[in-house]
Symmetry: C2
Subunit: 440 residues, 2 copies
């Protein structure tokens, strides 16, 4: 399958003069000398994953598919968005079996009560995904789920809990060893947002009945195609360079646009990937998403005529998985008969082309990424495309695309406000600030 | 109930010097002399809705609740987001009866095939919401649904279809009269994004089992509280003025933040309301959303350290609908025992305060909107708060907050590309442009 990129913004069409910079960035990535280069394990992870490891994932997935009504997954960020994105994109909306419910990516008490009530009379398995085991949200949800499983399944509960965590150390690794849970490892050299093709992404996909071998093939195809140095041979580098040019021109916000509701969580995955990789040192493009044509009736007005700080990256799916044809109507009061016999996918793509043109002419450049069709292989390749483009984008910008130093600020405040032992001085200080705000 | 606003950005704390402008805008709204003043029917619509009209909505809703497994709603934009926002916020996640499925807000063939397959062996009703009946997405979906209903229920199908449309004219009004559908009216002086408290919003809510009288009471409370002229008495005007000050300071993007996954579609409603009202004449704040703590593990890094073009408006829900307590654990490997016995809502709100402080100190001003608890009444009032704040914001900015001229551009291109009769010249011209882009 092919991924084509088209740039609908004539005045910045040429990227060839960026080859020198691109070659420099290319070497930093491939030789792992980039800032954060110790987290480039994802580059060739799909190639290195052994047949034995894939079989183990498939075997446990089969067991869960046979025995569970519900798989509850406790994970947040990269331990949640990758597999969620792929499952929502490829699984049917109705009648999934087993159901896969995510918990541990929020702290809404109402929602947690509902999930625990819902699963209490169903056969369930628990999958906990956390590198350290101490991230607050999945740790809380896993404490609740572990207790439920132990009350429900007694000594057998350890067979119903699977942990994906650091290979050697951490709270969850220790607990898993003690309790004899089955485990998989998140490699130490892969960060959460680049981990969709590790067991963290693959096991949930396999439980959902998806073909993880095809997904890995797509990843491998991506790793071949997007490890080429030259811009004319590498669409991912062209896309990355185009983004950086657009940012220089004052396009501060990138909208990932698609015309398929099933890609909603793909867009969420994209937002984490780019937002967390680029948003540092007061730099970076702010990533947002639109699902059209829905959002043309919402944000469409703004995109057409609001502040000219936007550009769009549009995912164009060429072939649909299923299609439906417009029926005729004698009276034609709704004036749709001129579309009689047309397939809906054709109409949807016409809407996409019409919108790209209107937005471009309104001052919003469009980058169109063509994908043959939505399946495991193509999605794997598309994700690799974005991962390598994201790494290159961050390096063009001059930031480390593999760390996330800024997430500590709120966490430190939060642990202090929660009275974590050892933080007594911070607690007093931050309590005072919060009080001042609330009185202010 | 009260809605409080707190501004966590000391240097722009004072808004009192905006009273003169506010009074001017206030009069334009209340005397309906604002640009687009002919679309201010929503201001006192809740007061004018008669007992008879409310009873009619409740009666049809009861009938649907008794007889249908599924209600399929065909609507887009304001005919979709308001009721969807309220239902997702207030209904349980699991076990809804009847199921309410939205169609007609996209043109994904795969999704439409799935929905029609899913309902074909279920008892269903159809609700079509469209002022004209000619908006492409709901018109297509309604053609499909109408045919399904006629094949399934024959002569009785007209009893299973309800239309909400213009009171007097339009394709859907004509069809409904011919077919003898039961109908409700969307008032001519209310635009889609301000229509959540009209039958377009109320009937779906009532079918979902929600208390529409309480919702309307909240709207009325809002219309009393936010029709006050003076800033110190009107939190909605204070919020609107603060937004316009933030925009002047280079905060181009507003993030509506909440800590409750159930408010995801409330945020979508907010995005349409503000984006479509303000985004014109190259002006306006670009509205986006974050659902925390989920998105702190995604966009959090960017908010903390990316470009300083952001501000946040945080919805702080004081009391939860249900709560859950942190259990103890002998080993405490996850180091959560210091939270033993704490309720999760407390922890979630602490995360909220910690984040607001961290972001504010990082250069992202926070406006915090406190709401007692999530129920019909409070949500009605909160929506009114945002509606009046949005009208005032648009007028502060100098735009007409009630039109949406920019959505015609893509529609014209689309109808031309689809070969709509009478557009032959445009079709040739736009085909040529699209071809040039695809070759380029």
């Amino acid at each position: 399958m092919r991924i084509e990129t088209r740039f609908c913004s004539p005045h910045i069409h040429k990227v060839e003069d960026g080859q020198e910079l691109t070659s420099h960035v290319h070497r930093m990535i491939q030789e792992k000398t980039a800032p954060g280069g110790e987290f480039l394990g994802w580059l060739d992870y799909a190639d290195k994953l052994s047949e034995k490891q894939i079989c183990e994932i498939e075997e446990i997935a089969d067991e869960i598919r046979q025995r569970a009504d519900v798989l509850v997954i406790s994970g947040i960020g990269g331990s949640y968005l990758g597999s969620k994105a792929v499952m929502e994109a490829l699984c049917p909306t109705y009648g999934r079996k087993p159901e896969i419910i995510f918990m541990g990516h929020h702290m809404s008490s109402e929602e947690l009560v509902e999930v625990t009530d819902y699963i209490c009379d169903k056969e369930f398995y628990v999958l906990v995904i956390s590198k350290s085991g101490k991230t607050l949200e999945p740790a809380i949800s896993f404490r609740l789920l572990r207790r439920m499983a132990e009350e429900r399944y007694g000594g057998d509960s350890s067979k119903r809990i699977i942990a994906i965590t650091d290979e050697h150390s951490g709270a969850l690794r220790t607990l898993a060893s003690q309790k004899n849970y089955r485990t998989f490892s998140i490699p130490a050299d892969i960060g959460g947002r680049y981990s969709v093709h590790t067991p963290a992404g693959l096991l949930p996909m396999a439980v959902a009945g998806l073909d993880i071998r095809a997904f890995l093939e797509g990843m491998k195809e991506g790793s071949r195609e997007y490890s080429r140095e030259f811009l004319e041979e590498n669409a991912a580098y062209r896309y990355a360079l185009m983004r950086s040019r657009l940012l220089e021109e004052g396009k501060h916000v990138e909208i990932l646009v698609n015309y398929h509701p099933k890609l909603m969580y793909f867009a969420e995955w994209f937002k984490q990937l780019f937002g967390e990789s680029e948003g540092k040192e007061n730099k970076g493009i702010f990533p947002v998403a639109m699902i059209n044509t829905t959002d043309l009736h919402s944000l469409g007005q703004y995109v057409q005529e609001g502040q000219r700080i936007l550009f769009e990256t549009v995912i164009d799916i060429l072939k649909p998985k299923a299609d439906i044809f417009i029926p005729g109507d004698e009276q034609d009061l709704d004036e749709l008969n001129y579309l009689y016999g047309r397939d809906l996918h054709f109409i949807n793509r016409r809407a996409m082309q019409a919108t790209a043109l209107a937005h471009m002419e309104g001052g919003v450049p469009n980058i169109i990424i063509e994908v043959d069709k939505l399946d495991e292989r193509n999605l794997g390749k598309l994700m690799y495309f974005f991962m390598i483009a994201c790494a290159a984008s961050g390096l063009f910008l001059g930031v480390n695309p593999f760390n996330q130093p800024g997430v500590e600020a709120y966490k430190n405040n939060m642990f202090a406000l929660l009275g974590k032992p050892g933080m007594e001085i911070e607690t007093a200080e931050i309590e005072k600030k919060i009080h001042a705000i609330q009185e202010g």
